[in-house]
């Protein structure tokens, strides 16, 4: 069960690792849309930077290479130096991995949890449904960033609490979507057929129900990933990341914002990266949604 659930959190890997034969047609269809292609290209570029960047970095991210806030070109730097005189380009190349891994892991955990809760709610149609969904409503009453900040301020800026807090605040939103998508499916007769056969509940939920809501789930997954990236970057910007001097895009923005007028690159590069990443994953989700709705008028020729 968990393989099927955990498979699609990273949208750019989803087109190669389609969970079942049929949903691949949805992805293939969405890839005929320009918005999806642009999204995939943007996300693929940034994933490539995050994965291969450390290998290409001209110097170590924490090495002093020139005077602080030197302009591009100084001492052979491509984008100048940051507020401590470290190479901006090297820090940018090494700073993507952490934010991406944290975002993907926390979103994936949130997805698995949310899907399980949503499916159980939709299928049970009794008091459990109410209890679970009202619980989710309570969690959703608070803005995601606020709950995460509370958790981090209670425990400290540890990586595990950041991941856990994002996962737990992602779950209710996913659960809502999963339940909404599963409810009409539960009413259909093929579910009755499996009940009459006496199939186990677990198999009905994840073998019969889940494949029928993959479309909306994929859209939600990419949307949730966007939010997770934003929150992790925000936390880093607020100085709440595992290691305050790790070359994290969010940290870079915070550290270099004061020099924005004189040496903008230290903040601008990570800003562009995060913007591209969120827009890209948003476009992918939107593409899947449109393909699912059959609104593929901008179909490429």
């Amino acid at each position: 069960m968990s393989q099927t659930v955990a498979a699609p959190p990273l949208p750019e890997s989803a087109d190669t690792k389609a969970p079942s034969g049929r949903s691949s047609t949805l992805l293939a269809r969405s890839l005929r849309l320009w918005r999806s292609r642009i999204g995939v290209a943007a996300v693929a570029l940034l994933v490539a930077i995050a994965v291969f960047g450390p290998l290409l970095a001209p110097s170590a991210p924490d090495k002093f290479v020139a005077l602080p806030n030197s302009l591009p070109g100084t001492s052979g730097t491509v984008f100048g130096t940051d507020y401590l005189g470290q190479d901006v380009w090297s820090r940018f190349l090494t700073g993507g991995g952490e934010i991406l891994v944290l975002a993907v892991v926390s979103t994936a955990i949130g997805l698995v949890l949310g899907v399980a809760i949503g499916l159980i709610s939709a299928y049970s149609r009794n008091a459990w449904d109410d209890v679970l969904m009202r619980g989710m409503d309570v969690l959703m009453a608070f803005p995601q960033i606020m709950l995460v900040l509370v958790a981090v301020s209670l425990v400290g800026p540890e990586t595990w609490i950041i991941v856990l807090a994002i996962a737990l605040t992602t779950a209710p939103r996913v659960a809502r979507v999963a339940r909404g998508a599963a409810q009409p499916v539960v009413e259909r007769d093929f579910i009755g057929a499996t009940q009459a056969m006496g199939m186990s509940r677990l198999r009905i939920l994840f073998g019969e129900l889940l494949p029928n809501i993959l479309g909306p789930l994929m859209v939600e997954a990419s949307l949730r990933l966007t939010y997770s990236i934003g929150i992790i970057a925000t936390l880093a910007f607020l100085g709440l990341s595992g290691n305050p001097n790790s070359p994290n895009w969010g940290t870079m923005i915070q550290q270099n914002q004061t020099a924005l007028a004189t040496q903008p690159w230290g903040a601008l590069l990570p800003i562009i990266a995060i913007a591209l990443l969120t827009v890209g994953s948003g476009l992918i989700g939107d593409g899947i949604a449109r393909a699912a709705a059959g609104i593929d008028r901008e179909r490429a020729a």
Binding site: S20, R22, S23, R188, D189, F190, G192, A193, T194, Q195, A196, M197, G198, M199, E208, P211, N212
Partner: protein
Amino acid sequence: MSIDQQAAVTKTGAAVTVRGLQIATTSGVPVVTDLSFEIAAGEVLGVVGESGSGKTTVGLSLLGHARRGLKIVSGSVLLGDQDVLEMDDVALRRLRGSLVSYVPQDPASSLNPALRIGVQLREALKAHGSTSDAENTARIAEMMREVALPDDPEYLRRYPHQLSGGQQQRIGLAMAFANRPRLIVLDEPTTGLDVTTQATVLATVRDLAAAYGSAALYVSHDLAVVAAVASRVAVMYAGRIVELGPADQLFESSAHPYTRRLVGAIPRLTGSRVLVGIPGHAPSPGSRPPGCAFAPRCQLHSPECDEKVPEPLQVVGGHTSRCIKALEVVKLQAVTPGERVQSPRVDSSAPVLSLKNLVAHYGDTEVLHSINLDLEHHECLAIVGESGSGKTTTARAIAGLHRDWTGSIRLGDLDLATSAHARSTDVRRQIQYVFQNPYGSLNPRKSVGETVGQPLQVFGIASGREADHRVAEMLEQVSLSASYARRYPDQLSGGERQRVAIARALISSPSVLVCDEVTSALDVSVQAAIVELLGNLQRELGLSMVFVTHNLPLVRSIAQKIVVLANGSIVEYGDTAAILGNPQQEYTRHLISNTPSLETARMEAVELASEFGPSHALHVTRSAGI
């Protein structure tokens, strides 16, 4: 805006004249081709066809409307001397609801749920520049009386959800006839209504069309319904009218092989006979053959049929057929009912399934009151009744899908638990259920092979290659080829889906098969084929079946015993032929007399024709001669 009524009568005497209508998809694939017909004032023209034949598309084109993705390519729809297809949007809007009107299939979705019905009726009048409030009130009262609904203000203050389906549809009719339209298009307005309600709606349509002199186009897939309401019928196949003529003549001496097969596929109340389906299926738009579209499925097929599309051939005055052999076809013996159903040997030593004092609830409402039934070995028991009679609840209780019941259901000498979940694997294997709607009962994400093989796995009967082998065998048994195993439900037609659902039910060799309205979502020719299949399987496999249906004629062709339910109680229970032939209860008689069928329609045609006067004298003589 109002046009002189006299203009309606053109040279041909027709209120509506359709000439050379062509409708295609926006990408140019023809959907409806070369359609021409006329409707006289006060006449009801029935358009019958199976799904995909283009009948609804034709209905809408008469209002100058093409559904999304379709466009009207050429042709004319003359309403008097105005061509509807030439009109701009403003003119069309003025036209619709006043000179032409439309009654859609689903009354519930065509009425605004947030507005009282009186308000909606008033709107229909106001939209077309009617005069004073007082006049409107009077007209609304008149309309309500005409559709046999109460006209008191209290009733008019109701919301659509406070009305039954039949009442909603009659409000729909009242709105459609409100402005005394020249043309009214009815798209399957009685689908989903009970027979009793259907009968009154059909009578209302006929009477109103005649009273107002409105030309009516009645679109339906149900030949018996069309026979009951229409004086002339157009049979559509693959986007063309293949046969057009007076209703009684068309059904009695069909001049097109398709019509003949269609008539042969209709179950009849008067005799238990084998229903014969039409093998193959209708070509979809874009893959229609160059010659006669029915040729690939036709028994009289010869090479000339494939050369070009046959032109309409006059059989007798006003009766045409697009078949090059029409004159031979019409001389063939009157459509013969199939051979009589061979009853399987019923073993009445001990019932395989027996219901004792079955009482079922939905929440606080008791929906079944003390039902006692026995199903013998190798017997097919039909449960019939109108909607809300409890027939489906009975079936679902047997399968353990409806859990809220008391009393006892015994399988052999085993008392069954209320829910399927609480029953043993073997009990679940022995009772199998086929659902009404094949579009909902198959998981769209599972291949046919996975779906059919599922019970083998769940019941631990077979796995791996053995399971694949059994699935292939089972698919052959329900007349699908083994290659279907790799397909997905969305690649199958409705009939094929239902065969898959039957295969899934039968692969575990059950002793009782429960069929819940299994043919109601299917076309007649497909329904016939499914009933044929079930009958054969019953004889070959010695199945015992519970067959739930609202279709009385169908019962004749499949069931040996029948139980009539009304409001959750048994009204009558016994031998099928005895009960349908000689019903003892008023309720059963009432059900039978309200069931539209070709036979009763012909008798009524005589009365109808006499109301129409001399131009329809042909009907009278012909009908009387039958």
